[in-house]
């Protein structure tokens, strides 16, 4: 199978959907001529023109509000938020308007909008351009949240997001745009709320989204050398969350670590760990561990920045302690 970059996969997904459905259009800062700072959308304006690939002024609340309005009146906008950090600017448009329109209209209104944005630290972009804020929107009922972990995932999840009749926020990891993965030529969709068991194992379950899936897989490689068999699960979407697959895995392995690049406190690691503890308590042989990003603004110093996010080595260390029953005194 051919291998393409995550960036190319997103580009293909959007192009295919724009060809299929004339109501789909793209809007955001530097999406047309520049094709975004990450060049993800390069070339789309040549095929679809400036009517459907619209460069906006630097005004996130304005153009996200416009997208909500366009979605309410029959279009299917894909609105591009250049950095996930800018999501703070569009909280009302996203959380008060888009997320609630369907509910408050008794189902008469829909907001088939995709907000595509990114997350991820270790790009030396400092504290205001390095955050992973998916937990913030996952908290709001009415928003779906997709977290692609590879080029294959990015394409399939984007196409599903565009066809969804509800607002979807997609967080791509900005460090993975150049990562290649096998992606089929033909069309495929990845359903929401269906986790992907990336690797089967028997001793511990490692749950991660986005780039943390790679971290979990590398940790599983390290653990295999010690004879510890780790199962790696990629939930793919955190809203809706495929609880059943996670619980079935933990019932099998009796142990779990939830890994995320968002800040650990009050984040998705706590949410997923808590659901495991509530629903698989009597199957647990070790405390469920959370490994999120350090609770600090992401440092600009490369040496410090690299310390703030979970690494395969750190995950493997904690996993060994869990499997060996050594967490009691460490806690």
């Amino acid at each position: 199978m051919r291998e393409i970059t995550l960036s190319k996969a997103v580009n293909e997904a959007i192009a295919e959907e724009m060809r299929r459905d004339p109501t789909v259009f793209l809007m955001g800062e530097d999406v047309a001529e520049a094709g975004t700072p990450f060049k993800v959308l390069a070339g789309l304006v040549d095929e679809f023109g400036t009517e459907r690939v619209i460069d906006t002024p630097i005004s996130e609340p304005g153009f996200v509000g416009m997208a909500v309005g366009a979605a309410l009146t029959g279009s299917r906008p894909i609105v591009d938020l250049m950095f996930g950090d800018f999501i703070f600017l569009v909280m009302d448009q996203l959380c008060n308007q888009a997320a609630k329109a369907c509910y408050m209209s008794g189902g008469k209104l829909n907001v088939p909008m995709v907000l595509r944005t990114n997350l991820g630290a270790t790009r030396r972009s400092a504290a205001q351009h390095s955050q992973s804020l998916h937990a913030l929107v996952a908290h709001i009922p009415g928003l779906k949240v997709a977290m692609p972990s590879s080029a294959y995932e990015a394409k399939g999840l984007m196409k599903t997001a565009i066809r969804d009749n509800n607002p979807v926020v997609i967080f791509e990891d900005k460090l993975m745009y150049q990562d290649k993965a096998p992606v089929p030529e033909g069309e495929y969709l990845i359903p929401f709320g269906k986790a992907n068991i990336k690797r089967e194992g028997t001793d511990i379950t490692l749950i991660g989204v986005s780039s943390m899936v790679q971290v979990a897989e590398k940790a599983a490689d390290l653990l295999a050398k010690d004879g510890i068999s780790a199962e790696v699960i990629d939930p793919r979407t955190i809203v809706p969350l495929d609880e059943e697959t996670i619980l079935a895995s933990v019932r099998k392995t009796s142990r779990a670590i939830v890994i995320d690049e968002g800040h650990q406190s009050y984040g998705i690691t706590g949410e997923i760990a808590s659901r495991i503890t509530e629903k698989a308590f009597y199957h647990l042989d070790a405390p469920v561990l959370r490994m999120g990003a350090m609770d600090v603004p992401v440092p600009f110093s490369p040496a410090l920045e690299d310390l703030t996010v979970p690494t395969p080595e750190a995950v493997a260390d904690r996993a060994r302690a869990a499997v060996r029953g050594e967490l009691f005194h460490a806690a």
Partner: protein
């Protein structure tokens, strides 16, 4: 009897309020709860309600005037004419002495402040200043607790705490005078509680708090203790993972048998294999499971003179040798296995004495404790016993015997072999060189 209307404290750091407007005219009848006046602080403008029924009289503050908190601005009298003797309002004159019934020191009256909007009383958690002591304007005078939070209340004035009129644990209505701060050091500072005193004027105001007060003081919670709860002694409860516990219950396995065999807690699923492999206790032998268990036996040999000299010195200092033995054993157990626990010193012919030494606790401060021992140190030095093989017990039992000028330390019990060796080595080292323990 007329009641004073004072400028209330509506905020924490407020020392005066601007009387924006009178909402009643002099001589008007008022009922408790009626809005009397509008007051503006740096934070907000609020209406102040009357606390009593009567007639508004003796107004001594005018609209637009900034009045220090606690100063009298009017009276609520039984007749529309009033008393004709309004309390002085001037800032520099301390509020007049308390109403006649009670002789209170002169000074500024400190009232229970309103710390929340919908709060009608607050509990005094504790006074931070003793009666008669000097206080500064920003010093914390007391700590109060409302239904929302606990807060420190600053004195608000420089001076001396001349009177404390409500005790810790008492629930006091907002606006009631709780203390008096005088300019000069009081000769005889007053200290009393609301419960045992027919407090002046404000006490017969709002009914609800008055009714609540006795109940509140009767069941007054003590000041929250900063001391953490003691850690439950190991042995109170078996520590095991949810899955290990669930599987054990399902298979009818008794985790207590793992405890009896000295397997370190918490138990995980892997420990159930050990449990399944344990020989089944014969009927009737349950009382002595240790008898069938393989005994663990370690013996250490060491010179006796250093410890003898040490205990002689301790005796001069009034410290018992048992406290030293318990301290040594507890520290060795802690160092070897990380287990925190009490130590029983058991000597034939007398009851075992249990000590629970904490890390760093001086031996002289050790007193016999009432705790389940994690280890029993059997002192057989005054017996003729030279060696033993009694088999494992519920907890590890090191025994101390003598042989001429040598001491012999024998461990029986089930500990992890590495822990057992480390512990006996550590006790022996301490007995050989007791000063090391103190260091």
């Amino acid at each position: 009897m007329p009641h004073e209307v004072i400028m209330p404290a509506l905020g924490m750091a407020q020392d005066s309020g601007v009387l924006v407007a009178w909402l009643k005219a002099p001589g008007d009848p008022v009922k408790a709860g009626d809005a009397l006046m509008e007051v503006e602080t740096d934070k907000a403008t609020m209406e102040v309600e009357a606390a009593h029924d009567g007639y508004l009289t003796d107004l001594c503050a005018t609209e637009g005037e900034a009045v220090p908190v606690g100063n009298v601005v009017a009276m609520i009298s039984e007749t529309p004419e009033g008393s004709g003797t309004p309390a002085p309002a001037a800032d520099d004159t301390p509020a007049a002495a308390a109403p006649a019934a009670d002789a209170l020191p002169e000074g500024r009256q400190i009232i229970m402040p309103a710390l929340g909007m919908a709060q009608d009383s607050a509990l005094i958690v504790g006074w931070s200043v003793a009666p008669g002591d000097k206080v500064g304007v920003d010093d914390v005078l007391l700590e109060v607790e409302t239904d929302k939070s606990t807060m420190e209340v600053p004195a608000g004035h420089d001076g001396y705490l001349a009177a404390v009129l409500a005790a810790e644990g008492e629930d006091v209505p907002v606006g009631e005078v709780i203390a008096i701060i005088s300019d000069t050091k009081p000769d005889a500072p007053v200290q009393r509680s609301r419960a045992d005193t027919p407090v002046p004027a404000p006490s017969d105001k709002a009914e609800t708090p008055a009714k609540e007060a006795p109940a509140a003081s009767a069941s007054a919670p003590p000041k929250p203790s900063p001391k953490p709860a003691p850690i439950a002694a190991a042995g109170d409860r078996i520590l095991a993972s949810p899955k290990a516990r669930f599987l054990a219950a399902q298979e009818g396995l008794d985790l207590a048998r793992l405890v009896a065999h000295g397997v370190p807690q918490p138990f995980h699923v892997s420990d159930l294999d050990t449990l399944r492999a344990l020989p089944t206790d014969a009927p009737g032998a349950a009382a002595a499971p240790a008898a069938t268990a393989a005994a663990q036996r370690i013996t250490a040999d060491l010179p006796a003179d250093a410890f003898a000299a040490f205990t002689a010195w301790l005796a001069d200092e009034g410290v018992s040798g048992d406290a030293a033995l318990a301290s040594f054993a507890a520290a060795a157990l802690r160092g070897a296995s990380g287990t925190e626990g009490a130590v029983a010193v058991d000597r034939p012919g007398s009851d075992p004495v249990v000590f629970a030494p904490q890390p760093g606790q001086p031996m002289g401060a050790l007193a016999p404790a009432d705790a389940a021992p994690a280890l029993v140190l059997r002192d057989l030095r005054r017996t003729a016993i030279r060696s033993m093989a009694l088999g494992a017990e519920a907890v590890p039992v090191p025994s101390l015997t003598t042989d001429g000028d040598r001491l012999c330390l024998t461990l029986e019990g089930r500990l992890h072999p590495a822990h057992a060796i480390a512990m006996i080595d550590a006790i022996a080292a301490r007995l050989t060189d007791p000063l090391r323990h103190i260091l």
